[in-house]
Every structure is written in C-alpha cells, then in structure tokens.
C-alpha cells in the first residue's frame, strides 16, 4: 500500500500521539540524571523531585517576604495584562479591519499604513514606548496591543474584502445604509474570523507579554522567569514554562470552543 494511504488505527494513533512527548521527557530525564550524578547540585536540568519541590514552594507555600502565593499572583497579573491587551487589540483590529476593508475612503489611507506598521518590531522602539506610556501596567498592555493589532487588522481587512460583493449590493437594494450594512452583514461575517485570528496571534501576545514583564516589573510570569534566571533556577523556570504552555493551550481551546458555540454555521459552511 502507498504510504499516503496508510492510516493509523485508534490504538496506534494514540501511541503515535504520545510517542514524541514520551521521547522528549525520556531524553530530558536521562540528561538530567546524568548531570545530577556528576554534580548533585546541578541546576541546569533539575530532576522531577526538584521541580515538584519548586512548584510546592511557588504555588502552595506563602512567600516569606510578600506573604502571598507567588505562582498564583504571577498568573493573575499576567492573565489580566494579557486579557486587557487582547481585548483592546481585538476591538481595535476589528474596527480598523472593517473600516479599511469595506469603506474605500478609509481603506486608501489605512491599508498601506497598517501594512507598514505591522512590519515595525515593537521591541526595537521600546524606549519611545516607555516615554509615551510610562513604566506601569499601561506600557505592558500597550506592547501587546501595538504588537498584534496591525496583524489582526490586516487579516480582518482581507476577510472583509472576501465578502461576496453580491451580498453587499443585495443588502443595499433592500435599503441598507452603510451603517446597517456593516452591522448586519459585515460584522457577523467577520466575528468568527476574528476569533480564529486571535487564536493565531496568541503566541505573539504571550511573547510580547513576557518581554514587557522582563523589562520593568514587580510581578508576572515573565518577571519571575527572568528574575530567577539570575541564579539559574531552572527548577522554577521549567514548571513555569509548562504552566504558560498549558494556559496558552487552554486559551486556544477556549477560543475554538467559543467559535463553535457562538458561530456554529461558520465551520459548517466550510465543510
């Protein structure tokens, strides 16, 4: 049988799913064990026990200095920044995308501007962002917003242009004004696409969040990672990385579920 036609059955599919993860874990713990036998205090590749201890300490023990539970505090502040950043970006991206995709008068100045802006690496102009937005929460949120809004806006602009022109003409012959047209035809078409675009930029949003927290901060997941990196505490960093991955995956899954629930027709229509 040709390779292209061979499909794994249920059981072997499960094994194939687990295999790469198991291989990675196996390789990690082998490497960790080798280094720890040479030097029991090695910090680069901590053992499972060391990481469990670190998790206990960070998540379930009160911090001596601040009296809080560090992991949860870090998570709460990071998620808050991320949520605000994503919320603002989604709203802005949607408005800009519709304006430049549907209204030619707005599209003429906006479209090239968005293209150029989306190419500017926000991390390279950080000092300017500091002066404009300060060092507090605002600058962290703004870094996310500046980083992902142009990408969202460009994607939505493209989707708005893909709406069949017949639909727009038909709505107009039925008496729709520009405003009604946007509200009743364009917006419903673009909302599911917005959720999908958000899922795609989640990775960048996390990247900008962690970069912002590494630069000037007093809490947050990125702050903690960059702080303990100073004494190579990989036993804290690795669980944090796993936790961030899990959170990001949950958010992705949540957005996917939301798309299905709120816009069941969208995926159905695509077959």
């Amino acid at each position: 049988m040709r390779l292209i036609n061979r499909r794994p059955d249920r059981a072997s599919r499960l094994i194939l799913v687990i295999l790469p993860f198991a291989l990675l874990l196996f390789a990690y713990f082998m490497g960790s064990a080798t280094r720890l036998t040479e030097n029991p205090n090695d910090k680069l590749l901590p053992s499972a026990v060391q990481m469990t201890d670190a998790v206990k300490r960070m998540a379930f023990t009160e911090d001596q200095r601040s009296g809080g539970y560090l992991l949860w505090q870090d998570t709460a502040s990071s998620l808050q920044r991320l949520a605000i950043g994503l919320g603002i970006s989604a709203l802005l991206g949607l408005c800009l995308g519709i304006a430049s995709g549907i209204l030619p008068l707005f599209g003429a100045p906006l479209s090239p501007l968005l293209t150029v802006l989306s190419m500017v690496p926000p991390l390279a102009i950080l000092p300017i962002l500091f002066i404009v937005f300060g060092l507090g929460e605002l600058s962290k949120v703004m870094l996310i917003v500046i980083g992902i809004t142009p990408i969202l806006a460009r994607d939505l602009e493209q989707r708005a242009r893909e709406i069949p022109v017949e639909l727009l003409i038909k709505a107009q012959t039925l008496g729709a004004s520009t405003w009604t047209l946007i509200l009743r035809v364009v917006l419903p078409q673009l909302l599911p696409r917005l959720l999908i675009a958000l899922r795609l930029v989640l990775g960048s949003a996390w990247l900008f969040l962690i970069a912002a927290e590494a630069i000037a901060s007093t809490d947050g997941l990125g702050y903690r990672i960059f702080l303990v990196r100073r004494y190579l505490a990989m036993d804290v960093i690795l669980p944090y990385v796993v936790w961030i991955t899990l959170l990001a995956w949950l958010m992705d899954w949540g957005l996917k579920a939301l798309t299905r629930r709120a816009f069941p027709w969208y995926e159905g229509a695509r077959g």
């Binding site: 291989l23 990675l24 205090n41 201890d53 670190a54």
Partner: protein, 359 residues
C-alpha cells in the same frame, strides 16, 4: 510487521541522540584547549585586548595550551554558560560567583581578583539635594538580585532603613537608562556605563555609590576548580596575560594610550569616557596590589556580608539552611561557612607567582 521490528531500534537511536544532545557535561580530563568568556565592562576590557591582540595566545603557547577568549553579550547568560560547563572560566563579580556557579554546585576558583568598584555602581534619585533616607517609600528601578541590589541594601543599612521601606522594580540593565527618562521612575540603582549617562541628566542627585563600600563589589576571573587543578597551565597563562595588559595600560606611553583607545572603542565609548569609567574602578595595577587585596583580612569579612545578603534573598538555593551553606576558602587557610561544601575558593597563588616574577 516489519515496521514493528524497526521501531524499537529507531526509538533507541532517537533517544540516544537526544540524550547526547542534552547532556552537556564537560569531563575534567587533562586537556590542551580551553574556553573562557567575558562581557563588556570597564574592568574587563583588558580581556578584550588580551584576546584580540594575541597576548593570551602568546602566554598560552608558552605553557603549551590554546585558550579561546569569547565575548558574550549577555552578562547573566555568560555566567550561566560557564556554570553549565560550556566555558572553563568566565569574568564575573564576587556575588554572582557565589550565587550562580558556587550555589549551583560548580566548584569555582577566583583566579584573579582584578579590581573593585570604586564608584562604578551608584544610586541616583531625581531632584536636587536628595539623601539616602529619601529613598523611603519610593520605587527603585534596578536589576533585582544583582550587585545593584546589594549596593542598595548596604546603602539602606547606613541609614537604618530596610528593603521593606521601599519597593524595588526589576528593570533590565539594557533599558534602565530609557526607564529613568519616564515620569514613573524616580530612583535607580545601576552601574557604568549606564550610571554615568543617568548621573549626567540635569536635576538628579547621586546619593550613594560603591566608593562608600570600597572593596565589596569585586570583579574577578573565575575558573572551574577541577579544571584548574588538572591544568595549572591555564591559570598561569591567564594570569600572565592579564598582568601584561594591565602593566601596558599603566605604562603611560604611546603604546598605553593606543591600548586604552582600543579598549574604549571596543566598549563603545571614547578615550575620555573610558578613562572616566576606569577612574571609578580600582583596577589593581600590579600583581603585588592584587595579591595584597586577595590576602587581606577584609576579603573574608566582605564575602560573609555578601553571603548574608544572598541567603536573605534566597540566592544560596532552597536547600540552604543558613548563610554558611556554601563554604568559601581564602588565602592562608582561612575558610568561611561549611568546610565540607567548599565551592568558592579565592586562590591567590597564581597572582603570587606573577608578583614573584615566576610566570
């Protein structure tokens, strides 16, 4: 079926490959090729000169070895790489030597204590005529858990304040100058070259600097103890090269100006700027000076203070019960902390060889 037979072998191969890739362990057998790293800082620029002008090569050749001198752009990363075993030696401060490699179980030796900060680290507050006590209730931008943090703690000691009386905001050293330009930031603690930039702004006061705690923030070349023990040639070559460059810098000749200009350029400033950074760095001009400092009674005392600070901030590792968790040894058989866990050794014997002209 054939596939099923192949699978285990493939699995074993993949696993072996990954294990090989992940186990970066360096074995301490006698060897001839060595790697050391350094980062840009006024007191370490002689390494740049020694590395690029063939002085390290010359000394290495004399002892029948080769030494590769690599510049790393990120200071903490360079120490982490050394701790992970990628380098045999690296330039770092006394506090970082204790809290990163030594606390990470990598037995390390301070081969050359080459200078101490004598104003190179400072605390700056916005506004004229400020004092250390004005820090109370303020937010201070600094690189947390670094020598800046230590300097701040020592400054607060001097006016009976503690860290609880203010709030530290972890700020990356690359962005601290830009951060101080914003209204949010009222006070910073940092080091040169950022410090001179920040001090030069109008309407600011430097309330404390490292010249008030002389000899407590040291810059050193740290090498792996086992590697040094197996290969004394490495210690001899590095020490010889170092003092040759330092002697050249202090020779007050056309050659010394050329060398200083070279280092200034390599550190991204001009001769005047580099000279002003050197003025606040007490660079030991002769092996004798370095030896006197390394054998002084002050050194163990300073390191105890540093260990105390590190322990209070959880830098000695979670297993550490008290400040003595990590043992340190000094000249003349003096030790501090756990004698069964000596991980940081100040060994002036190579500097002594240099002082006696035996290299």
């Amino acid at each position: 079926m054939q596939n099923n037979i192949k699978k285990p072998r493939l699995f074993a191969m993949l696993a072996a490959g990954l294990v090989a890739a992940l186990s970066l362990s360096a074995h301490a057998a006698p060897k001839e090729h060595f790697n050391v790293c350094w980062t840009i800082y006024a007191g370490w620029m002689p390494w740049e000169y020694a590395g690029t002008q063939g002085i390290v090569d010359k000394w290495a050749k004399k002892y029948g070895i080769t030494i590769n001198v690599t510049q790393i752009n990120d200071y903490v990363e360079s120490i982490n790489q050394y701790t992970a075993g990628q380098f045999d030696g690296c330039s770092m401060t006394n506090m970082d030597a204790l809290t990163i490699p030594a606390a990470g179980g990598v037995d390390s030796t301070a081969l050359i204590v080459s200078d101490f900060s004598n104003g190179n680290d400072g605390i700056v507050i916005k506004g004229e005529g400020k004092k250390v006590s004005d820090l109370k209730g303020m937010k201070v931008n600094l690189v947390e858990l670094s020598v800046s943090h230590y300097l701040l703690a020592r400054a607060l000691d001097s006016v009976d304040l503690t860290e609880k009386d203010l709030k530290v905001v972890n700020t990356s050293d690359a962005d601290i100058s830009a951060a101080f330009n914003t209204d949010d930031s009222k006070a910073v603690t940092t080091w040169n070259p950022m410090l001179s930039d920040i001090k030069a702004k109008p309407g600011v006061t430097e309330v404390f600097d490292s010249s008030k705690i002389p000899g407590e923030i040291m810059d050193m070349m740290v090498v792996n103890t086992q590697t040094l023990k197996d290969n004394p040639a490495l210690g001899k070559a590095l020490t010889g090269a170092w003092f040759e460059v330092v002697a050249l810098m202090n020779s007050k000749s056309a050659a010394s100006t050329a060398a200083l200009e070279h280092m200034a350029k390599a550190s991204g400033t001009d001769l005047a700027g580099f000279q002003s950074q050197l003025d606040t760095t007490k660079l030991f001009a002769t092996p004798k000076e370095a030896l006197d400092f390394a054998t002084s009674a002050q050194l163990p005392q300073t390191m105890r203070k540093v260990a105390e600070f590190s322990f209070q901030h959880g830098l000695l590792g979670e297993g550490a019960k008290d400040t003595s968790a990590i043992g340190m040894s000094f000249a003349n058989g003096v030790t501090s902390g756990d004698k069964n866990n000596l991980k940081l050794r100040f060994d002036p014997s190579y500097v002594q060889m240099a002082a006696e002209g035996k290299l």
